[in-house]
């Protein structure tokens, strides 16, 4: 007899929403404790993130990064592989984008976008392949190896930027700017086509649509293809997968390739869409935020999309808060950490009382 069964809709909506609410409640107490007004802070954050197309633009730009890295973690987790190397894979994805954009002259941004996406995916996948192979063949734990590969990726990128890609004579460890012909169209240009006015400032660009397409692609892959079936069976039960003749080695490697490719594709948004050159800290921790996004999104591509928007809001709203109040930048990181803590680590704290409530309601009804 199992207790603690809750309806699916409550599991995917009520639990995360309550977790977020709890995190916000504690954040409010913190803000109040340092002598600021929580209600004022909420107002600033919401207005800053959603109150204008400028705010929306930044929120969606950040969210696009998190969609890619969140999907990367979610896909790997479907096979119960904890890929926390999204950071490094995204860095390598950036290198892939830069090489594609710098060394090959593209006639049009659309072809460059396809090529850069492939380059990013290829480099990200290659970076995830090594830990995947080591896990599958040697049993080296993927958490350890992927996190170590983050450091190697950072060093490798540093070397590439300083010694290979740097503009001669420049002190700045960054690649030259990409040709302006292949600059990706921004969201205001796309929306302009259908007559919707949108702020021209934020860097949100067509990579957002690529991210949304990837959500659908990942969903289709997981639930409508044989590969997805094998990945999920392997993740749910390795003995049963072995019984079914699903190769653990091949599945692990495939999953890590897909995961790394998704993480790498984040660079299309940040490197090609925003910076238009490769810089040292192109990823800015989005690889790690991806873990929280996947956790909160229940490792489902559509959940990842929604969670990415929430974290985009936290990023943008938090930046506004730091700008307009004396709430220090660090506290915003604390708020983000609280959301991660409650939606990820303390998930059961919310789930258990809810399941008890449902049990009670059922008995009464």
């Amino acid at each position: 007899m199992r207790t603690g069964k809750i309806p699916h809709w409550a599991d995917v909506t009520l639990v995360p929403l309550l977790s977020v609410a709890l995190a916000f409640a504690i954040s409010a107490v913190l803000i109040w404790a340092i002598g600021e007004s929580p209600s004022e802070a909420v107002k600033l954050m919401v207005e800053g993130a959603f109150g204008s197309t400028y705010g929306w633009g930044y929120t969606l730009f950040y969210a696009t990064n998190f969609i890619f890295t969140g999907l990367a973690v979610a896909v790997a987790f479907q096979a119960r592989l904890f890929n926390i190397g999204g950071e490094g894979q995204a860095l390598l994805g950036g290198l892939g984008v830069a090489l594609v954009c710098l060394y090959i002259p593209w006639p049009h941004w659309s072809i460059a976008l396809i090529a850069a996406s492939l380059g990013a995916a290829l480099f990200g996948a290659a970076w995830a392949l090594i830990p995947g192979y080591l896990q599958a063949k040697r049993g080296s734990h993927i958490v350890i190896t992927t996190i170590m590969f983050n450091f190697i990726a950072a060093s490798l990128l540093g070397y590439m930027l300083v010694s290979v890609l740097r503009v001669p004579g420049s002190q700045d460890p960054a690649s030259p700017r990409f040709p302006s012909e292949i600059a990706l169209p921004k969201l205001h240009e796309i929306l302009g086509l259908v007559g919707i006015p949108f702020s021209t400032v934020p860097p949100v660009n067509i990579a957002l649509l690529l991210g949304i397409a990837m959500c659908f692609a990942v969903w289709f892959m997981l639930w409508r293809t044989r590969l997805g079936y094998q990945i999920r069976a392997f993740g749910e039960s390795e003995p049963a997968a072995q019984y079914a003749g699903i190769s653990p080695v091949r599945t692990t490697i495939y999953v890590m390739l897909i995961s790394g490719a998704l993480a790498g594709m984040m660079a299309v948004n940040s490197v090609m869409g925003e910076q238009q050159r490769l810089v040292l800290n192109a990823v800015e921790g989005a690889g790690f935020i991806g873990i929280a996004v996947a956790l909160m999104g229940r490792n489902h591509p559509f959940g990842v999309f929604l969670a990415a928007i929430l974290f985009g809001f936290l990023y943008q709203g938090g930046a506004e808060l730091a700008l307009w109040t004396s709430i220090p930048r660090e506290l915003i990181v604390v708020i983000q950490a609280l959301v991660i803590l409650f939606t990820g680590a303390l998930d059961n704290m919310v789930r258990m009382p809810i399941s008890r409530l449902f049990a009670l309601r059922k008995r009464a009804g």
Partner: protein, 519 residues
């Protein structure tokens, strides 16, 4: 007046009933696991409780041992109304429980396990000394001998069970509950256990025996209660009932206890195994030169106490373990390691496999029924209209057909495997493997944890597959099942074949000796 009632009941009941449950109900969500259950267990008797899986036996006992609180109802111990809020209060009330899956610390000694949680004071030495003395007495009195300084992991299953009983007795239990105690024992170990239980009964202890084996009920109990679908349907004095009546009460209809089958019509040899050897990941040699053959249209049963290499044999043949030796199927060798030795390759050679552990291997518990029907057959062209895409609606349609052919209840392809009862989970696996129409079916423990009604059905299906010309290799720890289904019986002990018998020329005693390595 109302206040007097319990006291009055106490006077009348104290003399003869060790336990009285009155109106116990317990629901888990929408499932009513126990419905208004009342039962009296006379002091100094062995009281059997039988019922199919999911009938509510374990829930009732968990309530009695304080794991669950009843939604309503009263418990009287020795006539006294007793609140049992947790296992500690159950132990204080004199109740001891021996679980189906032992709760022992593997790398502790017997003595350490016995005193665990019942240490008197901060120093271990006095408790250990007291336990040692007590163990010696108990060993003498009840044949409960176990080496007090042996580590649990070095003990046989039968001995581990004795440690569980000793733990309860050390805590001065007067009422002992045993949940399916013989599932893991050889016939002779089971006999020994029953001698222990009878000895305890003579000392005035009360014993509740939960089992689904009617023969044990008839052999050792004084009274027997039958549960069905959460209700207590009858209590009988064992001497005045029969296995047939009990089976009918359990299932709610007439049941065939014997398997109806015609003699086998064996054809050509399908599978030839020569000198098969297997060393497991711990470096233990599990198969030490197995040779056997199976012909078309026959069921070869492999008897043995679990852990003597039968499981490994099954998994080697199913391609899940590597081995050395020779296996020939239809005049073509089966690879025993490397490429071509996996579940997929075996299915391509028309070998189907019903694994021993359906919840771990045979099913993905978190998958829908239809996803499980595709497990292992996910490359089937019927399910794959193109190279990449899986045709989920086609699988669902196919699942509906298989579920109705095998009477899986509820016939809902969208239900997760974990939502089915044990019997229906097994039917799901059998539907998948039998409908593949294999040349060779490997079956492990086809009816473990399956209720009587479903057992009958599963046995019939296996016979039908045999009659259609398939070869079947059957592995089961239930000797009755081996004897009832097999056309030939091989007994395994310690990775070797002890001998081969025809079912109508042998008996449980002879097979039991062979299973213990003594013949």
């Amino acid at each position: 007046m109302a206040l007097n009632t319990p006291a009055m009941r106490q006077e009348t009941a104290a003399s003869d009933n060790a336990i009285e449950l009155s109106g116990i109900s317990k629901a888990f969500g929408s499932v009513q696991a126990n419905k208004d259950i009342s039962i009296r267990v006379r002091r100094g008797t062995i009281h059997g409780i039988v019922g199919e899986n999911g009938a509510g036996k374990s829930t009732l006992m968990s309530i009695l041992f304080g794991f669950y609180r009843a939604d309503s109802g009263e418990i009287f111990i020795n006539g006294k109304p007793t609140e049992i809020t947790d296992s500690e209060s159950a132990i204080r009330a004199g109740i001891g429980m021996v679980f189906q899956h032992f709760k022992l610390v593997e790398n502790f000694t017997v003595l350490e396990n016995v005193i665990l949680g019942a240490e008197a004071g901060g120093l271990l030495r006095p408790s250990l000394a007291r336990a040692r003395g007590l163990l010696k007495d108990l060993a003498r009195e009840f044949e409960l001998n176990v080496d007090p300084d042996a580590k649990i992991e070095d003990l046989s299953v039968g001995h581990q069970q004795r440690v569980e009983i000793l733990k309860a007795l050390y805590r001065e239990a007067d009422i002992l509950i045993l949940d399916e105690p013989t599932g893991v024992l050889t016939p002779s170990e089971a006999d020994h256990l029953f001698r222990i239980l009878k000895g305890l009964k003579e000392q005035g202890k009360t014993i509740i025996l939960i089992t689904h084996k009617l023969r044990e009920i008839m052999d050792v109990t004084d009274d027997v209660s039958v549960m069905r679908r959460g209700e207590m349907v009858a209590t009988r004095v064992t001497a005045q009932t029969s296995p047939t009546e009990l089976a009918e009460l359990m299932v709610g209809r007439k049941v065939l206890l014997r398997v109806e089958k015609t003699p086998a019509q064996p054809g050509a040899e399908v599978l030839r195994v020569e000198n098969l050897r297997h060393v497991d990941s711990q470096g233990v040699e599990r198969l030490r030169g197995i040779s056997l053959g199976i012909r078309k249209g026959e069921i070869l049963g492999i008897a043995g106490v679990s852990g003597n290499g039968q499981s490994e044999l099954l998994e080697v043949l199913a391609g899940l373990r590597h081995a050395e030796g020779q296996v020939v199927l239809d005049n073509e060798a089966l690879p025993l390691s490397g490429a071509g030795c996996d579940g997929q390759a075996r299915r391509a050679r028309r070998i189907a496999h019903v694994p021993e552990d359906r919840q771990r291997r045979g099913l993905v518990m978190n998958f829908h029924a239809w996803e499980n029907i595709a497990l292992g057959y996910h490359h089937d062209p019927l399910y794959n209209p193109s190279r990449w895409r899986m045709d989920n609606p086609a699988i669902i349609r196919d699942t509906e057909g298989k579920m109705s052919a095998f009477d899986v209840r509820p016939p809902d392809p969208q239900l997760k495997a974990s939502g089915f009862s044990g019997g229906n989970q097994q039917k799901l696996v059998l539907a998948r493997e039998i409908e593949y129409e294999p040349d060779l079916l490997l079956v492990g423990q086809p009816t473990r944890g399956v209720d009587i009604g479903a057992i009958e059905f599963i046995h019939q299906r296996l016979i039908r597959l045999r009659d259609a010309g398939a070869a079947i290799l059957l592995i089961s720890v239930e000797l009755d099942e081996i004897m009832a289904l097999s056309d030939r019986i091989i007994v395994m002990f310690d990775g070797r074949i002890m001998g081969e018998r025809m079912p109508d020329e042998t008996n449980a005693q002879e097979l039991g000796l062979m299973m213990a390595g003594m013949a």
